[in-house]
């Protein structure tokens, strides 16, 4: 099945549910810190922060949300053209002893998350690390799972999942396509 899997309302509903699951799991948002993985994990983390803020008025959306670039921790740097390094912005109080919720758009092989865990240990020592993703498409290559999933989408390896977000692409949608064969 290819085409648009999630539309804008679906994405909003999934994120709203994840925000509440995060609160439920952690008994509120006191220690919760959201770190988005650029590019599309970052707007998702901001939206989750906003949704958590709507449920818990004491939650400081600005100071409890950051960006974690993982480019320099990847294990496939030598297999790809040189990647541009993104920005890492950590909350002013640092991440020590916090419950860090990593946020990314698609969970696939798990290698990005492996790199993110390494990056986290270089910037501090959180009490716990949890993982929230909008889409889990399977095909894990490492023993990594998500704590919060917007939607599980069974895919073939040859297929491609594109998350498009208003902030980066001008629309909200999750699109599944069969990869076009290169001539």
């Amino acid at each position: 099945m290819t085409g648009t899997i999630l539309g804008a309302p679906d994405i909003t509903r999934a994120l709203t549910r994840i925000a509440h699951e995060i609160l439920e799991r952690n008994d509120g948002a006191d220690d919760v810190l959201l770190l988005g993985i650029p590019t599309r994990g970052l707007p998702l983390a901001r939206r989750l922060a906003e949704l958590i803020g709507a449920a818990e008025p004491d939650f400081d959306q600005e100071r409890r949300c950051g960006a974690l670039d993982i480019t320099m921790y990847r294990d496939d740097l030598r297999l790809q053209p040189t990647r541009t390094i993104g920005q890492t912005t950590l909350p002013p109080a640092g991440i020590d002893d916090a419950v860090v919720v990593l946020v990314d758009d698609v969970l696939h092989t798990g290698r990005t998350i492996r790199a993110a865990l390494d990056a986290i240990s270089d910037v501090g020592r959180p009490r716990a690390v949890q993982l929230a993703v909008l889409v889990d498409r399977g095909h894990r290559e490492l023993p990594i799972r998500a704590d919060f999933v917007g939607k599980n989408i069974p895919t073939a390896r040859s297929e491609r999942v594109d998350v498009r977000l208003m902030e980066t692409d001008g629309e909200d949608a999750v699109v599944l396509t069969s990869r076009v064969q290169q001539p």
Binding site: M72, L79, T82
Partner: protein, 319 residues
């Protein structure tokens, strides 16, 4: 990008990419844990045929912060002093598996020769060749200028800024590299030197040349002043002198407190080091709040990290 041989080879986009990458590298250097795993398993050789402490340790620090293995090879006390040629040295480094060679050589063009000879496969970074080029110095200078004088610097060049380069332009690879890079990035360059220390071809460069520092300060609104080191030994005495005396040089080209105060409020003072205090720059100017000389050293590490990352991390260099 496979080699970094000359600042003149860089397009504006290349240069901005290096500077933007350096911004992210600098941010990682403010953390408690400053080492990144990015270049694990890669080997960087520092091949220095000429004495240089700062440049070598700056490259060494940059490579080590990215987890590359570093081998320091200096010509003194090595097989080079026994007469080994550049070619045989290169073949040796190739056999040792050098992924990048950072080379400083007294002969102009040595880095180019190493990169294009086919003697070795690794990337070559020119860390200064004769009186020709020193591209990472120019990059760190532009980085420093951009950081201080351009608001929200990422993605931007140096348009509208005016930079004076003062001193021995003739022998200076720092000056040549800076003229190339500053003009590529859109800045205007004013050379300030006695006529004897301006190279013959400089009239074709896209720069303005004046012959005293006072004239430069009076006729141009300068945003940055870059002082070059005077190599005392080659400058005075005998028939080969370039100016009559160090005192006269100081009077006409030295940056002292009085001249510093005549510069615009925001102007910064730079020097590639090592400084001759009291000759090209007075202690007052070197230690003033507007001097960014010490910061240039820290920025050098970030810029060299960026260069090593861009040369070594991607697939092009994997083969």
């Amino acid at each position: 990008m496979r080699h970094l041989l000359s600042a003149g080879d860089l397009t504006r986009d290349d240069a901005i990419r290096i500077l933007d990458t350096a911004v992210q590298m600098a941010a990682t250097q403010e953390r408690e844990q400053r080492k990144l795993p990015t270049l694990r398993g890669r080997t960087v050789v520092n091949l220095f045929f000429e004495d240089s402490t700062r440049t070598r340790i700056s490259f060494e620090a940059a490579a080590k912060r990215l987890s590359a293995d570093v081998i320091n090879f200096s010509a003194k006390g090595s097989s080079v002093s026994k007469g080994e040629s550049l070619k045989d040295t290169a073949l040796t480094l190739q056999a040792m598996g050098a992924d990048a060679v950072v080379v400083r050589h007294w002969a102009s063009g040595a880095a180019q020769r190493l990169a294009t000879s086919g003697w070795m496969h690794g990337s070559v970074v020119n860390a200064g060749d004769g009186t020709h080029q020193h591209p990472t110095q120019a990059l760190l200078d532009s980085y420093t200028i951009r950081r201080h004088l351009v608001a929200e610097p990422e993605g931007k060049g140096l348009e509208g800024l005016r930079v004076a380069i003062v001193g021995d332009i003739l022998h200076s690879r720092v000056a040549r590299s800076n003229v190339d890079l500053l003009t590529t990035l859109g800045a205007e360059v004013v050379l300030v030197a006695p006529p004897t220390l301006v190279p013959v071809g400089a009239s074709a460069w896209p720069v303005t040349t004046v012959h005293t520092l006072d004239e430069a300060i009076e006729t141009h609104e300068l945003d940055a002043v870059m002082m070059l080191r005077v190599q005392r030994e080659r400058m005075t005495g005998g028939g080969a002198a370039f100016f009559p005396s160090p005192e006269e040089y100081s009077r006409l080209f030295g940056l002292d407190g009085a001249r510093l105060r005549r510069l615009p409020e925001h102007a910064i003072v730079m020097h590639p080091g090592p400084m001759n205090r009291g000759l090209e720059i007075s202690a007052e100017a070197a230690d003033s709040a507007r001097s960014v000389i010490v910061e240039q050293v820290a920025n050098g590490v970030a810029v060299r990290m960026a260069v090593l990352y861009l040369l070594l991390a991607g697939e092009e260099s994997a083969s």
